[in-house]
């Protein structure tokens, strides 16, 4: 609707969603630390509860600070709207809550964040939502796995734990032909490196905890809607196309058009699932997004140098970073991530599980913890931590075998990052 190209990415990173506060003139977005909002009168309250007017009722549904962040992320991704929530996992829950009915299926790439494999493969089964994990290196594998019950395809643009780039355009074409939405988790790339909606994604998922927030200090998630999917045509998305009893028979898609999924995300998803984002976390994440472009440039430049260093190190068996000439994903990275292949990747230490544990424990600058996308450099041994709950077979499929170490390269001086890895690798050797 709006000419999104009117302002550049960096301008939108700083300003989108954050006009001066109309009441006070406050230039930074205020932290609206309130649970509820007064109604003008009973008729105003009725209009709000009926979704007939814009406004705030209760911070589980919407909050002004969270709304500013929602608009900013929607703008950066080129989406119509966004629903902020407590975490990336909550965002996934919101998206599938709108699409799935008990007994439905969806297809997900095999290489995903370990926590998503567990959420999809185990907890979602309790709702009768069935996932099938697909080897995404050949996009045609998705087409071959389609069934009449399949409601969506889910991939990560740049897959965690690292080095794998998905052919977004090819997979989106398969989803479009099947008439189902294409959902892309863009957490690892951030909208600075890749904007999946430009490649055909219908919904973009973020753990804003990572690069968007960027400083390892605030949890959050975001479901961004492109506004392009026709929820009514196939009749297969009744939550959006059929009368909603909880709102007196209102049809979300008919009433709200391209705003429908975002309205649903708040008015049903957050209302009933309850995983709201805290206003303080939204404020910290807004501050983080202001420097997204600057940070991502340095994250990528540092990661490229560290990956090249590790590839030449005698204690290292292999490095999986899509920015390396040796990477099988280099061509896909050049297409989808032309400004850099991100800063999270994996490598293999000679000596397997034991050597991996020793390396992690030998670091003095890298922090040993389960997060990514921090200003600080982070290290983890997925087999003993993030992917511990998976079977050996699932770990191997997810790229988290016993010798694998995952790095999230920060924005410190790159020589210091390299020196710390070098000394820790020597300790382990």
């Amino acid at each position: 609707m709006t000419d999104k190209s009117k302002f550049g990415f960096e301008t939108r990173s700083v300003h989108a969603g954050a006009a001066p506060d109309p009441t006070t003139g406050a230039r930074a977005v205020p932290i609206y630390q309130t649970t509820a909002y007064v109604f003008d009168d009973v008729d105003h309250a009725a209009s709000l509860f009926n979704l007939q007017t814009y406004g705030y009722i209760y911070s589980r549904l919407t909050n002004p600070t969270v709304a500013a962040l929602e608009e900013r992320v929607a703008s950066l991704e080129g989406g119509r709207g966004a629903t902020g929530c407590a975490s990336g996992h909550a965002a996934q829950m919101l998206a599938f809550f709108a699409l799935m009915e008990p007994g439905d299926e969806f297809l997900a790439a095999k290489r995903l964040y370990g926590g998503s494999i567990t959420q999809f493969g185990r907890s979602f089964q309790k709702f009768g939502w069935n996932v099938r994990f697909i080897d995404s290196d050949d996009p045609e594998n998705f087409r071959r796995a389609l069934t009449p019950k399949c409601k969506a395809i889910f991939v990560e643009s740049l897959a965690n734990p690292g080095g794998v780039v998905t052919d977004l355009e090819a997979v989106s074409a398969i989803a479009r032909e099947a008439g189902i939405p294409f959902i892309v988790d863009n957490t690892m790339a951030s909208p600075y490196l890749c904007r999946p909606i430009e490649w055909g994604a219908d919904i973009v998922i973020h753990s804003t905890t990572k690069f968007l927030s960027g400083h390892g200090n605030s949890m959050g998630g975001m479901m961004v809607d492109s506004g392009r999917f026709d929820w009514t045509r196939s009749g297969r998305y009744p939550s959006l196309s059929e009368p909603e009893p909880a709102y007196h028979g209102l049809r979300f898609h008919e009433t709200f058009g391209d705003l429908a999924l975002t309205v649903h995300g708040h008015a049903l998803g957050l209302r009933d699932l309850g995983a709201a984002m805290a206003p303080l976390n939204a404020f910290l994440t807004l501050t983080g997004t202001e420097t997204l472009a600057l940070r991502m440039e340095r994250h990528c430049a540092n990661a490229q140098k560290v990956a090249e260093f590790l590839e030449g190190h005698p204690a290292v068996a292999w490095v999986s970073y899509a920015g390396l000439k040796s990477s099988p994903y280099r061509a896909l990275a050049a297409k989808y991530l032309p400004r850099g292949a991100g800063s999270v990747f994996t490598f293999g230490v000679k000596g397997g599980y034991e050597a991996g544990v020793k390396l992690v424990e030998g670091c003095e600058l890298f922090s040993h913890l389960a997060n990514i996308g921090d200003t600080r450099s982070l290290i983890i041994h997925p087999a003993s931590t993030t992917h511990r709950q998976l079977s050996d077979e699932q770990r191997a499929a997810a790229g988290a075998g016993p010798d694998v170490v995952r790095l999230s390269i920060g924005i410190e001086s790159v020589d210091d990052i390299i020196a710390d890895l070098d000394q820790a690798l020597q300790k382990g050797a």
Binding site: T2, K6, A16, A19, L51, E71, G81, T255, L259
Partner: protein, 162 residues
Amino acid sequence: MDHEHYTDEYIAGILRQTKTIAMVGASPNWNRPSYFVMKYLQGKGFRVIPVNPRAAGEQILGETVHASLAEVPVPVDMVDVFRASDAVPGIVDEAIAIGAKVVWMQLGVRHDAAAAKAEAAGIQVVMNRCPKIEFGRHSGELSWGGFDSGIITSRRTRKVQS
């Protein structure tokens, strides 16, 4: 007029100058989209007069429904079209006859030939847009729902004040 992309000033200008809206296709059913838009615009100070031959003589949100634009007893600034695109030419002819200044077609409604005829008669035309969404976009209220308004400003006042 580029009916794919309207400038912010074109839309905001129409919303600032409009006082009275005749809503063709207004529904007395409270959970229909037209009812949402009418109620919202009334709350923003517009007078909205419903036009719908199937509900003529009934009341919607305190206003009497008229059977046609010609029967609306007061001057109309804007005709808001909540009808299918093929009904637009007839509505444009009526809008010209009553001296309306704007013909606004709702989301999904578009008729280029009728739009050209209206513009030749000096009428401003908006197609495939919703005045509730556009009012909210320019006043800042749309942003409350987490939508990208596309508006970036360092100013406290908005092009449209709610």
